[in-house]
């Protein structure tokens, strides 16, 4: 099969699954068969089959394409699917052009492979839910939108995928919409993302506008990339920062990160797929995709790296204090996204993408194993009622530990390799502050990861009754855990550091996309790299040991482990009051001013409406007089009209 056909299968198999499942969802909404326990109704079985088959076909096609790419010369690792023109407006010529190159292929592999495993997991996790077909429809649709996003060659089509994943995220966070708090969380995610999207749109318009004088204005990424080097640096910086504001919304960077922890209201597979592995990394991908622009705007890159470092640190502090198992992992995701942007900011685009790649595996595993724990405890999410689950969950337990260890950066797991690469890149980019913040964050990451492991798995059960009835999940849930665990362990081999005798295979793969000089920092001094690695391992080991020892013993507190810290702990627990600050600074003034303006506007609009209605009814009454009903009057009116017409014809001289 040719490349183009493979690309078509990758894109449209999930779409077809979404359409079929949508039809089944409409049908099941009309014919409601009551669900008994955790069993699948016949319609759910059909939905599960279609829903897993769609992404599975895409996965097989993606891997076929990847294997074929490996056998080719690196300059030939490119395939494009042209589905004609979407619209032409002014100089802009927007076409349905989908492209897979080395970078897009990495994203496609993540979305399809991790996505398929999560779809399979969802079959077990969502069994017995009344909205099962609806859930799979949105999940399939999300996969399609995400694939559009990562394969689009035109920024407008990319934006279409960008909004598509946003809509699916909204629908899936608010999946249990009868709970008002969950529906509100979906709305919050949507609204905060709109703020970022405004920046993205303005950035796109600015880039288009800057190309108009050349007579070939376009939003085609390749044309833009060739064009941006001709831009003045301030203009490029402005466009780069505007685009990054879009990425801040999607990838949850401070201060637009507030939606992600709340997004945990959605079902756990959604958290794993959308809010850990794929959608939230769209911002990272977009920045990496526009790398010529960012390369041309060093100030914007420095801004990205600094904000990433800040986000990584802030989110890690918050993650240390959470007591809801999913919220710990959510804040951890925000923190890891900060790492990715730190890597991009250091100019090491391939390193940032590599952390995205490993993170997709270990964070999806983290969420899915947390989901299996929640599933085992019949929906309990508070760590205060867990503990002592190690002996109960023989598959989920080790998976959870592997995920936490990879997240913490314990060698030789994948998280260690990618995090270490980012720290080394920060050092080589002459950003000692980023390095310091990165190291500190690495310590805290290890702390909260092992705090969570200790609280959930170790020690005696805090809630004996709940833990006694814990049960391991079925194969649809455990198989994805096992496969993702393999990925989380093995993904590190692709970029094993030079100084430890490895090959930077992943960077070499991405070299045709990024500039070779940017693919990895200048490794002038392997000794420095080795010292950095040793330092980060030491910090991680310390953090992990402290996190474990403080929380593994019986009666360990879920709150602040040291009494003097209680005040700060509380501030961290509340996310440093960013939500409250934004509420006071932005939401309340808007609500207040709209409340104040409401009576005035009501009066004005009411007056206008009454004026229109009154005028019309008066005119109607006036005209009704002419309607006497007498044939004579109508004849007179006709005569008068005739006289006027004849007079006009005569006076105008027959012209």
């Amino acid at each position: 099969m040719s490349h183009v056909h493979l690309l078509a299968w990758i894109l449209f198999a999930p779409l077809a699954a979404a359409v079929f499942n949508g039809l089944l969802a409409l049908r099941s909404a009309r014919v409601t068969v009551p669900v008994e326990g955790h069993h699948l109704r016949p319609i759910d079985r059909a939905v599960a089959g279609i829903g897993v088959a769609g992404p599975l076909v895409a996965t097989l096609a993606a891997w076929t394409l990847a294997i074929d790419f490996l056998g080719r010369d690196r300059s030939l690792r490119l395939t494009e699917l042209d589905l004609g023109t979407w619209f032409t407006m002014g100089q802009a010529h927007v076409s349905w052009l989908f492209r897979v190159d080395a970078l897009s292929l990495v994203m496609v592999l993540i979305v399809t492979t991790v996505g398929t495993l999560i779809h399979l997991y969802s079959v077990g996790y969502m069994a017995g839910d009344q909205g099962f077909p609806r859930f799979f429809t949105w999940l399939n649709l999300f996969t399609f939108a995400m694939l559009v996003l990562v394969t689009a060659r035109d920024l407008v089509v990319l934006f279409l995928g960008w909004e598509g994943v946003g809509v699916c995220s909204y629908l899936l966070i608010g999946y249990w919409f009868s709970d008002a708090a969950k529906a509100a969380a979906g709305l919050k995610a949507f609204v905060v993302n709109r703020i970022g999207d405004l920046g993205l749109l303005l950035g796109m318009f600015l880039l288009y506008w800057s190309m108009v004088p050349s007579g070939q204005a376009s939003l085609d990424i390749d044309l833009l990339s060739a064009h941006v080097t001709k831009l003045s640096v301030p203009l490029a910086t402005l466009a780069a920062v505007l685009l990054f504001i879009g990425a801040m919304g999607k990838s949850a960077q401070v201060p637009l990160h507030i939606w992600l922890p709340d997004a945990m209201a959605g079902p756990t597979p959604v958290s794993a797929l959308i809010h850990a592995a794929t959608m939230v990394t769209a911002g990272v991908y977009m920045v990496a995709r526009m790398h010529p622009l960012y390369h041309h705007a060093p100030a914007a890159l420095a801004f990205i790296g600094s904000l990433g470092a800040l986000t990584a640190l802030v989110a890690a502090t918050v993650a240390c204090t959470q007591t809801n198992i999913k919220r710990v992992i959510a804040w951890s995701t925000v923190s890891q996204l900060g790492y990715m942007f730190m890597g991009l900011g250091a100019g090491a685009f391939s390193v940032g993408i590599y952390h995205l790649f490993t993170h997709a595996f270990f964070k999806a595993l983290f969420f899915l194993s947390a989901g299996a724990v929640i599933h085992a405890l019949n929906g309990e999410e508070e760590v205060g009622r867990m503990g002592g689950l190690w002996s109960k969950l023989r598959i989920t337990g080790p998976a959870f530990v592997i995920a936490a260890a990879a997240n913490a950066g314990i060698p030789p797991l994948s998280g260690f390799v990618s995090k270490d690469a980012i720290l080394v890149a920060a050092w080589h980019a002459h950003q000692p502050w980023w390095l310091a913040v990165g190291l500190l964050t690495a310590g805290m990451t290890a702390f909260y990861s092992f705090r969570l492991v200790a609280l959930v798995l170790a020690g005696p059960a805090r809630d004996k009754h709940l833990v006694e009835h814990a049960h391991e999940a079925g194969w649809t849930m455990t198989v994805p855990l096992l496969l993702l665990a393999c990925g989380a362990v093995a993904a590190g081999a692709l970029e094993w550091p030079h100084e430890l005798g490895g090959t930077l295979w992943f960077s070499a793969w991405l070299e045709p996309v990024f500039y070779p000089s940017l693919a990895h920092g200048v490794h002038a001094n392997p000794v420095v790299d080795l010292i950095l690695t040793a330092g980060s391992v030491a910090v991680v080991a310390t953090g992990a040991a402290v996190g474990w020892s403080l929380h593994a013993r019986p009666g360990a507190p879920t709150g602040s482990p040291w009494t003097p810290l209680a005040g700060v702990w509380q501030a961290m627990r509340r996310g440093w009051f960013v939500d409250e600050a934004l509420e006071r600074a932005l939401v309340r003034p808007v609500v207040f001013s709209s409340r104040a303006a409401a009576p005035f506007l009501d009066f004005l609009l009411g007056w206008m409406a009454k004026g229109v209605v009154g005028g019309l009814s008066m005119a109607g009454r006036g005209l009704a007089v002419a309607q006497s009903g007498l044939a004579r009057h109508y004849a007179m009116a006709m005569l008068a009209g005739l006289v006027v017409l004849v007079a006009w014809a005569v006076l105008s001289g027959g012209r």
């Binding site: 309607q627 006497s628 009903g629 007498l630 044939a631 004849a635």
Partner: protein, 99 residues
């Protein structure tokens, strides 16, 4: 031949017809006024037909006479039905078009 004489007669006939149509209230008077207007037009047709030695005017007049006869037949039938309903020939009573 002078044109003005027959045209003046036609204009006078048409004016009488129009004036009678808007002024009179009796249904039969209205029908007669309509006949007057139709025939004033007929007069104009034959006048110009004669003037330009063209046959079309004569043909049209024959058509109008036939139509007028048919119209009279239908109109008289309607008048009879109206009279049976309302026992009157005053058109101002028939104002139901107002609704």
């Amino acid at each position: 031949m002078a044109l003005h004489a027959p045209l003046l007669v036609a204009a006078a006939l048409f004016s009488i017809g129009v004036g009678g149509f808007v002024a009179r209230r009796n249904v039969f008077a209205l029908l007669m006024c309509i006949e007057l207007m139709l025939n004033s037009v007929n007069l104009v047709f034959v006048t110009f037909s004669r003037q330009w030695l063209a046959l079309e005017g004569h043909v049209t007049v024959l058509l109008v006479v036939a139509l007028a006869a048919a119209e009279a037949a239908v109109a008289l039938a309607i008048v009879i039905m109206l009279f049976r309903h309302r026992e009157t020939l005053d058109v101002d009573v028939f104002a139901s078009m107002k609704e």
